[in-house]
């Protein structure tokens, strides 16, 4: 984080995440998003702080990041647009995934966006391989994967992290850990950074609501990775905790930040103003633009059509056009064998 411009740029990213996440939450609350999805409020700092510590490019030469649906900020920093974001969530025919899958983004190899998740932990394995490829080709690139805290309980997370560690892949695993339920229910570890030694990787534990702290930790991890020192586990504490996890932990749901997620963007704003890096009016303008960009993207996406039904077919294999089942075509001739099995 160099000067004033950088800081305001960073705020711009936070504000865009915030605006998109807030908009998505209302769409969800209105029942306009088919799947009951995460919207990413409260993940502004960890998402943008981490992503901006990497090198984004659009020609396949930059770093790679695997965001969860909570990490809109990382998606935007790596060149995803609000329009793509809403198209994908709303399952528009024009969406990158053309409605075949929920979430935020399919893969964009040129931009280094690797998504979306399948089951928890899978993307740690996949990103281990993405960064293995960087190593094998001697490229100066690193990868970052966002993970939940309980995701660390999964087999995939373990095998992926251990593989990356063993092969010294330039991978950064960011564990987004809540405050109250981080430990005790699903793990007895005192913290998620404690897991690093078991894999023999470096670790850091930072406040996930502090964008600069996240940025710094990931910057250091990326430098380590680029210099051949392998993977790093970054624990981002204080991320939102889901309602279910809260209840499982017996925590008071009503008073917990999940219901009123902490706003890391607002926190950064206060800091920028207090430290006289930016004026409130400038930041108001940044926010206004973010909201406007989000509003217009969302409205455009809402006006677009869903994919044509037949798009359910085909594309399962290379060059597979997709054939409708025989009982959806012209009625077959009476008494004749069917021409095909589909």
């Amino acid at each position: 984080m160099a000067g004033r411009d950088d800081a305001v740029d960073l705020y711009r990213a936070l504000a865009l995440h915030r605006a998109a996440a807030t908009r998505l939450k209302s769409l969800r609350d209105q029942g306009r998003v088919p799947a009951a999805i995460r919207c990413g409020r409260g993940y502004e700092a960890v998402s943008t702080g981490a992503a901006r510590a990497l090198r984004a490019a659009s020609d396949g030469s930059g770093d790679a990041v695997a965001p969860t649906p909570d990490n809109a900020g990382a998606f935007f920093v790596f060149g995803g647009t609000p329009l793509q974001f809403f198209r994908q969530h709303l399952a528009c025919g024009s969406a990158p995934g053309r409605g075949r899958e929920p979430g935020m983004c399919p893969i964009d190899v040129e931009r280094g966006l690797v998504g979306p998740a399948a089951l928890p932990g899978t993307m740690v394995e996949v990103m281990a391989g993405v960064t293995l490829a960087f190593r094998l080709r001697g490229e100066d690139r690193v990868g970052l994967v966002f993970s939940g805290e309980d995701e660390t309980s999964t087999s995939a997370w373990h095998e992926g992290t251990n593989f990356a560690a063993a092969r010294r892949c330039p991978l950064i695993v960011v564990v987004q850990a809540g405050t109250e339920t981080s430990t005790g229910v699903h793990t007895r570890a005192r913290g998620f950074a404690q897991k690093a030694a078991g894999y023999g990787v470096a670790s850091a534990s930072v406040d996930g609501g502090d964008v600069l702290a996240v940025h710094r930790a990931v910057e250091e991890a990326a430098a380590r990775a680029r210099s051949g020192q392998g993977a790093t586990l970054v624990e981002a504490r204080g991320c939102p905790v889901s309602r279910r996890a809260l209840r499982a932990a017996g925590a008071d749901r009503e008073r917990h930040p999940y219901e009123h997620p902490p706003d890391p963007a607002a926190r950064f704003r206060v800091r920028l103003i207090e430290e006289r890096i930016a004026r409130a009016s400038d930041l108001d303008e940044v926010e206004r633009r973010a909201r406007a960009a989000v509003r217009s993207a969302c409205e455009q996406a809402l006006g677009e059509s869903p994919p044509a039904d037949e798009y359910a077919l085909g594309g399962v294999y290379d060059g597979d056009p997709g054939t409708p089942p025989w009982y959806r075509l012209e009625p077959p001739e009476r008494g004749l064998a069917l021409a095909s099995t589909t």
Partner: protein, 342 residues
């Protein structure tokens, strides 16, 4: 630490009120836990939260934290643990939050649970249950039917009820059974109002391995199960009304072991067989049924065995795509007409 009175929402049958399929399952679990102290539950968010679909709401208060256990996201871990507990004489019932999440446990289920008895290590009476099926805009990882992942594994049983009565009776049989049982519960049937029924107040079971004739007919046999029982019954009614064709609908209820006798018996009566499954086409259960009917009732076939199934692809997300992907009443009608006219 468990309260003695049955929670109000689990006493509907006792009060003579109708229950949904979901409530029937909850009652079965509750009654088996009361009947047999060795029965206990494990799964993600099943205790404090009561489960993603609330199947175990109220269980924690009644049975305590030793018998209603919240687990980490570790499907393999807690399914393997269930086997260990079963070795020691307990009867674990394990919930997969969505049955799609059973895949990390594929190894332990097929290699350990299924083979234990044959290898000389005794029975492993574990029930693995959870919601399956499409039509809910869940996308590729929250909509799968999992029967064919396990149908090829000797040592497992697979149950898939279509009615509240069967769900309760089959669940009780599954829990009392000494072999590992995969128990599939279709999400769309969970709260379907037309499936509410008043169940017997006394304890009853439905035997595993026995199909049920859901509608008698003489001209075509439809063999099906799960949600497709109701789709098939709709088609049968339409065929009766529009074409005067008498379709027999057989609800398998248990997929493994298959009720050969019921299938062959019906085919010997009608001479025509249509298999309907919501699961995807290639490698679906229709194949095994077709093979067995060839072996046992070839001479009685007056037309080729046909099938109506989902399309060979992952389950797509957008509503139109998913609707196109799934089998429809009109597909079944078309296929039956083809068979009758053959």
């Amino acid at each position: 630490m468990t309260s003695n009175s049955r929670p109000e929402h689990l006493a509907r049958t006792l009060r003579g009120e109708p229950v949904t399929l979901l409530e029937a399952i909850s009652e079965a679990l509750f009654e088996e836990m009361e009947r047999d102290p060795s029965v206990f539950l494990m799964g993600e968010d099943i205790a404090v939260y009561g489960g993603a679909f609330k199947v175990t709401r109220g269980f924690l208060d009644h049975f305590g934290a030793e018998r209603v256990i919240d687990t980490p996201i570790s499907e393999a871990g807690f399914t393997g643990a269930a086997a260990g507990a079963a070795h020691m004489g307990l009867r674990p019932v394990v919930e997969m939050q969505f049955m799609d999440f059973i895949s990390p446990a594929y190894d332990v289920i097929t290699n350990y649970l299924a083979t234990s008895r044959y290898r000389g290590s005794g029975s492993v009476p574990v029930v693995v249950r959870g919601p399956v099926g499409g039509g809910n805009r869940g996308g590729p990882f929250h909509s799968q039917n999992v029967e064919m992942a396990f149908f090829h594994t000797p040592g497992l049983k697979i149950v898939y009820p279509a009615t509240a009565y069967d769900a309760k009776g089959l669940m009780k049989s599954a829990i009392r059974d000494d072999d590992p049982v995969i128990f599939e519960e279709h999400k769309s049937l969970y709260r379907a109002p037309h499936l509410r029924e008043v169940l017997p107040a006394e304890d009853y079971t439905v035997p595993l391995g026995k199909a049920r004739c859901a509608r008698e007919g003489t001209q075509v046999t439809i063999v099906t199960y799960g949600a497709m029982v109701h789709t098939s019954l709709e088609a049968a009614a339409a065929l009766e009304k529009d074409d005067g064709v008498a379709v027999e609908v057989l609800d398998l209820r248990t997929l493994l072991p298959l009720d050969d006798e019921a299938v062959a018996g019906s085919v010997k009566k009608t001479g025509r067989l249509l298999i309907v499954h919501e699961d995807t086409r290639t490698g679906g259960i229709a194949g095994e049924i077709a093979m067995r009917v060839n072996e046992q009732a070839f001479e009685w076939l007056d037309a080729p065995i046909l099938r109506v199934t989902a399309i060979d692809s992952p389950v797509p997300y957008a509503g139109g795509l998913e609707d196109y992907f799934l089998p429809r009443v009109s597909d079944i009608v078309t296929a039956c007409r083809y068979l009758v006219e053959y």
